[in-house]
Symmetry: D2
Subunit: 376 residues, 4 copies
Amino acid sequence: MREFLEGKQSDVAGLRAAYVELSAHERREFLALNANELGRDQERIAELARVMLDASDDDRSQEEEALRQALDDTPWLRLLRLFNRLPDGTRFLVELRADLLQFAAEDPALRPLERDLKRVLEAWFDTGFLELRRVTWDSPASLLERLAASEAVHTVVGWDDLKDRLDADRRFFAVVHPHLPEDPLAFVEVALTRGLPTTIGAVLDQEAPTVDPATADTAVFYSISNVEAGLRGVPFGHFVIRRAMEELRLELPRLKTFATISPIPGFREWLASQDEAPPIDDRELLLRLCAIYLIEEGSDPVLRFHLSNGARLERLSWLADRSERGMAQSAGLMAHYLYDPRRLDANSEAFARGEVVASEAVKRLIEGRRLLRRVR
Amino acid sequence: MREFLEGKQSDVAGLRAAYVELSAHERREFLALNANELGRDQERIAELARVMLDASDDDRSQEEEALRQALDDTPWLRLLRLFNRLPDGTRFLVELRADLLQFAAEDPALRPLERDLKRVLEAWFDTGFLELRRVTWDSPASLLERLAASEAVHTVVGWDDLKDRLDADRRFFAVVHPHLPEDPLAFVEVALTRGLPTTIGAVLDQEAPTVDPATADTAVFYSISNVEAGLRGVPFGHFVIRRAMEELRLELPRLKTFATISPIPGFREWLASQDEAPPIDDRELLLRLCAIYLIEEGSDPVLRFHLSNGARLERLSWLADRSERGMAQSAGLMAHYLYDPRRLDANSEAFARGEVVASEAVKRLIEGRRLLRRVR
Amino acid sequence: MREFLEGKQSDVAGLRAAYVELSAHERREFLALNANELGRDQERIAELARVMLDASDDDRSQEEEALRQALDDTPWLRLLRLFNRLPDGTRFLVELRADLLQFAAEDPALRPLERDLKRVLEAWFDTGFLELRRVTWDSPASLLERLAASEAVHTVVGWDDLKDRLDADRRFFAVVHPHLPEDPLAFVEVALTRGLPTTIGAVLDQEAPTVDPATADTAVFYSISNVEAGLRGVPFGHFVIRRAMEELRLELPRLKTFATISPIPGFREWLASQDEAPPIDDRELLLRLCAIYLIEEGSDPVLRFHLSNGARLERLSWLADRSERGMAQSAGLMAHYLYDPRRLDANSEAFARGEVVASEAVKRLIEGRRLLRRVR
Amino acid sequence: MREFLEGKQSDVAGLRAAYVELSAHERREFLALNANELGRDQERIAELARVMLDASDDDRSQEEEALRQALDDTPWLRLLRLFNRLPDGTRFLVELRADLLQFAAEDPALRPLERDLKRVLEAWFDTGFLELRRVTWDSPASLLERLAASEAVHTVVGWDDLKDRLDADRRFFAVVHPHLPEDPLAFVEVALTRGLPTTIGAVLDQEAPTVDPATADTAVFYSISNVEAGLRGVPFGHFVIRRAMEELRLELPRLKTFATISPIPGFREWLASQDEAPPIDDRELLLRLCAIYLIEEGSDPVLRFHLSNGARLERLSWLADRSERGMAQSAGLMAHYLYDPRRLDANSEAFARGEVVASEAVKRLIEGRRLLRRVR
């Protein structure tokens, strides 16, 4: 593989063509075989590190830079840049990362390749370059089909369901990057309602009457999904929610409340790990335990996502998601995270300091905790 | 300044607004004052370097990565990313680099800031993302005005001259990046001719009859300019010439020759540095000396640019540029570099190995060298 | 209503708003009530006609023009122009014509209004202004939904069927007019095949393997539909087929045959009107009778459409359309009309002179006619 | 020529190609030679007129329609439709009309051809299809060049003047029709000012400081021009002014006054036709005479244009246009017509009834009329 790096652009095109033809198994073998050779020149780096440590104050900065360059100057990173110059090169790198994420989970030797590729993609897909686009029923059918297939939270069950999610009282925003203008990276689905709905069924009900958007007071973010497996860990969620809020406030100044209806994916597993699993059908008990799980554990991934974005844990709803997955993961409960435009920065900083920002109502659920223990 | 990095996006907007209001002198002072604080944490880096050197083989890779992260994790780089998230953030960073290039020329303490900003811009403006666009008389007047003002080689002397450069037997290609879609980064001007013109005056003559492009056999690249001072050193020239050739071959399959008519900016100065400056009006002698200068010195910047792109030094023309600058820099001579589509990679590699690739005709000029010395 | 014509644009907007709110019955009554007042000034026309007949040769032309103006200058035509100046005015006029076509079928007093509106629309929607656009799976979902609903020949039975009609070996062309850029007026569906398929089932089969378009030798026009009821009788079919052929020949130069697979909508009814209805299951007899019906009667509307466009009746296929409608109207038979690019004008002129242009193969079917009669 | 009408589209293309190659003189001869044959079938028309006059009440309407069709069904109109189907056909017809307007001025036999072509173009270029587009310094240079060349009122004297007319305190609106999307049909130039300027020199002064549009209270329409000679008499002026006002009110709600600064092209000639030509340098006398000319004669073409659009004659300015043309035609005076959004319809109707709508201030100028006569 190294020879490609000294060669011509056409060789790199050939390398890509060959890679694409391989089976998953062959791809992994091929990458593993070359991982070492594509990595850093450790001897040279060690030498430069010693030079740097011995350098005078005047030369220190220069020697640090020489070391940094050596650390960054791997055949792998050079190869990635060559790939990027091919037609659809960025597209290929995103797919290559999806491969590497899968392979590196089992083969630690591939982790540096995956990590470096992520770093390159993070620089290129910096939030500063993202654009928010409204998706409607007038969007290309092929795009709608792709987005529907990527819906990771509440499965789209056909074109009627999809059209319903693009109805007059719905908004659908996608994140697009100029390097992949045809391929949205993430999207958020919004329902415009009067008051906050307490079940996801009410939101997804195709038979429900359409709300006049001009009379809605609440925007419910009911689904946020990433589209590209190869961009996992490159953060778009923060961007999509903040920008969607801006768009919504501009279009519909009467909206007062911006909140989510979200799964609590780790709750049921956590429950099972407790000494005595409580009966699912005790509403009060379940809500209390859920508040304990979210606030005291603070480990739920959806909670962490929204709190880091600046939201507050606002409310819990019982029997809010009766789907198979909803029962299995969240014991049927759902959480509402409130995005208060004036509190986003403060909340986000509080969470960075370790606080689980929550409403009084949710906190009160925990106050009865000691009592709860005793009852048990 | 450091406080901005812990603060909110709105503070960064304020910082930019404040910076933009400063005079050049104040900007330089402001950056110099903060340069140290924005730079690397040298103690931490030294410690991590020692840990890395002491690490076992198994841990080495991980410790290298920790060191690399520390070297890359400066307040300055974090600040640049925050700037980039502002509206027109990339635009601002390009202008900031133009400032820093100017300031760092006199103040070495600012060089690391300039260098890191260049590195960030290089990643974002990678060749793989560039697009070639044809510029015509149907392009926006504001764009044409800006391009004309950026013409660094042969000054545009009014709208008639500009329109002439967009005539039927001319092509004008600009390089655009999706992050700055309205602001071309570089451009190349092409004349379609029958045979290679031997003076730039013939190319720029507005009175000359228009050649039917279908009958042209030669494409002359007569001017290549960068537009953005803030992207100096970020290489676009390679891209613009190769892609322009592709477009031209697609549109006009009868074109056989792709060549330049280029200044030799270092020639006159080199001549002056020789023992005996030869009379400018001795054609044969001047051509020989010029061949010696180009081939044996190998330092002329325009020569290096074209040879690294894969061109060959093809021919020298006497009294080819009688403009004030042409006489002062190049002693009136011009060089022609030939871009042979089948030889680009081979030539480029030869140059990378240190060879100045030249035609037999130019090489023959040097063969008389010893003779020349004797005559003198 | 007359007062609107002397009034302001805002009154006309009010009139439209009021009309749109009416029920179909009320609309018809409203139009019928005003039909007379909106029509021609017969007395003035009679007078001008007399003046014209009495005019000297020198004045004749001028008097003819005065008469023409009076014939054209009705309150109705003035009102139509005022409607057209409203936002979405053209759209409204197309819908108004759809109403009038329906009403005038039963109320002859409304025919002049319908006829004049058709004339205005014919001028605006002149073939010279039409554009052909390719429709693909990347087209807006809303557009695809609308086109599918307008498919008048072979019903689209869901999104999978629709997607199949936009597959790699299918082409879908729509006719668009700049005045209604979002609303296609007509469309044609094309299958790219190797050889001419003899049943419509083979064309519509979603399970059939996709043909590589580069290897196809035949383009089968298998469905041509108008979208706007209000533009009935304004001819787009000629345009859509000729332009689609041009596009196909440009894209796929290997295509040799352009032909249709078409219903024979009047055949079964004609059969029933004959003395002795022949058994549907006698292949040879049925084909002969069908050739007689098409060639000797010459009244089949689909035949007349294609022959006036310059096609030739090429072949008949037995048991080619087993759908309910196919059996009921065409006795399961389908006709193939051949569009030979070199013969279009000649064929079209021959048809204009009364000839039913047909292949030798179809003509031979008739030769046995006398025999047929005897057998019966 | 008649044979073309029975022939093929390709023949019509040939006819156009041949016509375009002819000199102006040859074109006129060619059209004159064929004018008769392309016109109406007078015998048939006379017969149909007689049938119509003899028809019963029941048949009358049908016979009128038959007559109308015969009057409309000329070889010339058929030929025009065939031309329109050619690529760039509409463009050709507009140029053909420009020819005919010129030829028919001297050859009455060509007037019917010109008149019928105008009628066809009027239907296609109906106001309902027009679009208003803002022209800016970002518009294509080729478009700006063409518009500048078409400026019929105040000549554009170079690119600096043109750029000044697109400055921040200027607006430039063009009328575009979807059939000729690249070729504006008419345009209006607007200056945003504080108070109404009393000389055109103040408006066109490139050195004058730029007004902040947000502080302007007045929009001055200082130039209205048609671009296409071939569309003379097809009315766009009404549309361009009303729509430009709508755009301006939307963008700049603080604008209170919409008015023109207009030439009075017939004034000097009318003055010369009076018994005693008054000295040009008597301000008061000249203003009075101008008011008499405008209000009592009511024949000035610019006055008629604005009053029919719904404006009011508001003010006269002395020494307002010192250009050669301004002095020669308007004796240096200019008129201001006020467009009051609430009075447009009422004013337009009053003018249609024969009233010259004028402000009290201008009317007062006339009151001294008798006195004036006496003085003289």
